[in-house]
């Protein structure tokens, strides 16, 4: 069996989350990804907790690790023209260049798309930024919450009677890189068919708008009030309290037959108010209150399994521990064991899929500059003494 993207070559200038997550996918599928970093401007992902051991060793961030598996790493200072010249050699080697610098940075250091094309006429460049490079907000400097704010995600999140809610994780940093992975794969297909490269400009806002497409359609089809946990087509549909501090079980009843089964368990089988979906929607506060009285005190996992066995969708609201220890993930190979000089033996997640005729890999993330010699000398054919000198002088640092 082979890796499906064996032979694909990526020069990865991206950092933090929005680019590196995409190149992680490609690397796990077998592409050779060379991550270009600098000690002069550390990837902020290397400074993000949690860390293995005490202190903040930039090679020991577990956050960095899960975002950069299976890549090789070199250090190049793009603030030094000699560093840029070496970067150009990697462009000549690559099929794809990925970056998520602030607006204009690549142009300023002499790595504009026009320059990349002059080095490699069929190069594919994928750029990820908060609002995209083109358009009136193209120069917007983004912060953690910008994509959620500008896409409607924050406005549609939270309880109906309360302010917009900022989900406490960077969802734009999740969905945009998935679009970037799709972009790289589609652009490779296009190049192989036509010989053409291209520059793809991905915004973090637009992928979030795409995954909210149904909400926007409903807004235009008659208005859409944010629903909290409720659903127009299912009731009950929410999270109900269970035994223990902040323990909950999500239950979604898809039809009247499922309700009949649940109503028997809850002890409200004869209550005509709830017999139909429209009745349950009209009396949803009372419905939820009765179910909460019944779930309160039950174990969330036992309850979820009991309802699932009846065909009613139900799952414990898991916390980080529940997720990490979920046997489903172990059974289906979600986590892959690595042995890393700074992280030790640990489990890192891989792509959520499996191929019948290809393998995937999840290998060590690179330590800072770990592959300088392998890349500069062995791959690019640079003179070892020249490389040493450039490292000493800070151009390859």
């Amino acid at each position: 069996m082979t890796l499906p993207l064996e032979g694909v070559k990526i020069a990865d200038f991206s950092w933090v989350g929005a680019g590196p997550r995409a190149t992680k996918d490609m690397a796990d599928f077998g592409a050779t990804v060379i991550k270009i970093e600098s000690r002069k401007r550390l990837d902020l992902g290397r400074l993000s907790p949690p860390f293995a051991g005490k202190g903040r060793d930039p090679d020991a961030s577990a956050f960095f690790a899960i975002t950069n598996t299976s890549k090789m790493g070199v250090t190049i200072n793009l603030g030094d023209p000699r560093g840029v010249e070496v970067a150009k050699k990697l462009v000549a080697w690559a099929d794809i260049v990925v970056e998520n610098f602030s607006h204009g940075y690549m142009d300023r250091v002499g790595l504009s798309f026009e320059t990349l094309k002059s080095i490699k006429p069929d190069i594919i460049q994928v750029s990820v930024s908060v609002a995209g490079r083109e358009g009136p907000l193209g120069t917007l400097r983004g912060y953690g919450n910008s994509a959620a704010a500008l896409s409607g995600l924050a406005a549609l999140s939270g309880w109906p009677d309360r302010d917009p809610h900022m989900p406490p994780f960077a969802y734009g940093d999740v969905v945009a890189p998935m679009f970037a992975t799709v972009a790289m794969l589609a652009a490779l297909e296009h190049r192989d068919r036509t010989g053409e490269g291209q520059h793809i400009d991905i915004s973090q806002v637009e992928p979030l708008v795409h995954v909210l497409s149904d909400c926007l359609a409903r807004e235009q089809a008659g208005g859409f009030a944010k629903p909290g946990n409720r659903s127009p087509s299912m009731a009950p549909h929410g999270a109900f309290p269970c035994r223990g501090k902040d323990q909950w079980c999500a239950i979604a009843v898809a039809d009247d037959a499922q309700w009949t089964m649940l109503a028997e368990l809850v002890g409200v089988g004869g209550d005509a108010r709830f017999a139909t979906l429209s009745g349950r929607k009209a009396n949803e506060d009372a419905l939820e209150s009765l179910i909460a009285d019944w779930t309160d005190g039950q174990d969330k996992h036992v309850l979820a399994d009991r309802l699932s066995a009846l065909g009613i969708a139900a799952e414990a609201v898991n916390d980080g521990r529940d997720v990490f220890t979920d046997p489903e993930l172990a059974t289906n190979g979600h986590y892959h064991r690595i042995d890393h000089p700074k992280l030790g033996r640990c489990d890192l997640p891989g792509p959520p899929m499996r191929f019948s005729a290809a393998e995937m890999r999840v290998e060590n993330p690179p330590c800072l500059g770990e592959h300088n010699r392998a890349i500069f000398v062995d791959l690019l054919g640079m003179d070892p003494a020249e490389v040493d000198a450039l490292v000493q002088e800070g151009a390859l640092a």
Binding site: P4, G152, A155, V182, N229, G320
Partner: protein, 344 residues
């Protein structure tokens, strides 16, 4: 980009976004709908959102599969039978779980979001956990199905052979919850809901604010230039904020009562200004503030319109382009397929 690609889409709900994205990239995507068709047709807005740009056929799979590059579906069909019809077929199966002990467990988007751990951290501490708007576990699984399909397509270039690719929507949602399982693995701590407080240290800072005509997001953070910028634009309204030496303190560890006093000043300043005015101040002074767009604002955004995001679909504006490319992108029609219209 994918003009030569022929895709059969057998999904309903879970995975519908996958064919939608492939159609946007130029593939010919045909929904194969027997009988009354995709049950999601009953929910017209959602059906339009996830299916515009596709075709629809009621023809027999045995007639369609030999000409197709790939099938995207939910579980139920026999892979070997499909492969017998077309050995080059890429068969992408998206399900809540990969085959295993939970393969028949009933799931909805809500319950997948619960199991993934995302609900535990979304919402307010004084109320139940919350899911996210729309159907995010389904969407994440669907995008992963596109990644799976195109990766297998690339592999087929090398081997000449098709294959089965199975994708887990649950695992896709777990990947989106990138911090919580990792934090437990490395620190033994579990996260909790903090509402609109951003917690990075011992304390927490507010990050959603009312202004004159809506809401903005901004926070007191350990970024001295940004904080000094805000104090400058607030002028006299800054009060005690003007006295803070931002290089000498850690905002993330400053006690909540102190932060609340500072935040009251900021709140009063924001309430007198519009989203546009605050956005303009942020752009000019590097404040790190964003206005919050409601769905109507998103639909009216000049920026998104200038980037060609929207497609007119049956009188609605729906997201079309996935990104902006230096190549002229050919836009598929903004058409929602009638049941079996390809067979007419």
């Amino acid at each position: 980009m994918l003009q030569s690609l022929t895709v059969l889409d057998l999904t309903s709900g879970l995975g519908a976004i996958a064919g939608r994205m492939l159609a946007e990239l130029g593939a010919t995507v045909t929904k194969v709908e027997a009988g009354a068709g995709d049950p999601q047709r009953a929910d017209a807005p959602a059906f339009a959102a996830w299916n515009h740009g596709k075709r629809s056929s009621g023809a027999d799979l045995a007639a369609l599969v030999p000409q197709a590059d790939m099938v995207i579906r939910n579980p139920g069909l026999d892979h070997a039978a499909l492969l017998a019809l077309n050995p080059r077929l890429i068969d992408v199966v998206l399900a809540p779980f990969l085959p295993g002990p939970n393969r028949d467990r009933p799931e909805t988007d809500l319950t997948l979001m619960a199991r993934s751990g995302l609900m535990a951290i979304v919402g307010d501490p004084d109320r139940a956990p919350l899911t996210m708007p729309g159907e995010q576990a389904h969407a994440l699984g669907g995008i992963q199905a596109v990644i799976a399909a195109l990766t297998a397509l690339r592999h087929r270039r090398a081997t000449g052979k098709g294959q089965l690719v199975e994708v887990s929507a649950y695992q896709a949602a777990v990947l989106a919850n990138y911090r919580e399982p990792l934090t437990w693995e490395w620190t033994g701590r579990v996260g909790a809901r903090t509402g609109n407080l951003l917690v990075r240290g011992a304390s927490g800072v507010r990050q959603v604010w009312r202004c004159k005509d809506g809401f903005v997001t901004w926070a007191l953070v350990d970024n001295p230039p940004m904080m000094r910028g805000m104090v400058t634009v607030m002028g006299d309204a800054a009060g005690p904020l003007a006295e803070v030496d931002w290089n000498a303190i850690l905002v993330a560890d400053t006690p909540r009562p102190v932060l609340e006093a500072w935040e009251a000043r900021v709140e009063a300043f924001f309430l007198e200004r519009t989203r546009a005015e605050l956005g303009e101040l942020s752009a000019r002074h590097g404040l790190g503030l964003s206005w919050i767009d409601a769905p109507a604002d998103v639909l009216a955004s000049p920026h998104l319109a200038a980037r060609g995001l929207w497609r007119e679909v049956d009188g609605m504006k729906l997201p079309g382009r996935l990104w902006v490319s230096s190549l002229d992108a050919s836009a598929p029609s903004g058409h929602v397929p009638g049941l079996g219209e390809e067979d007419a």
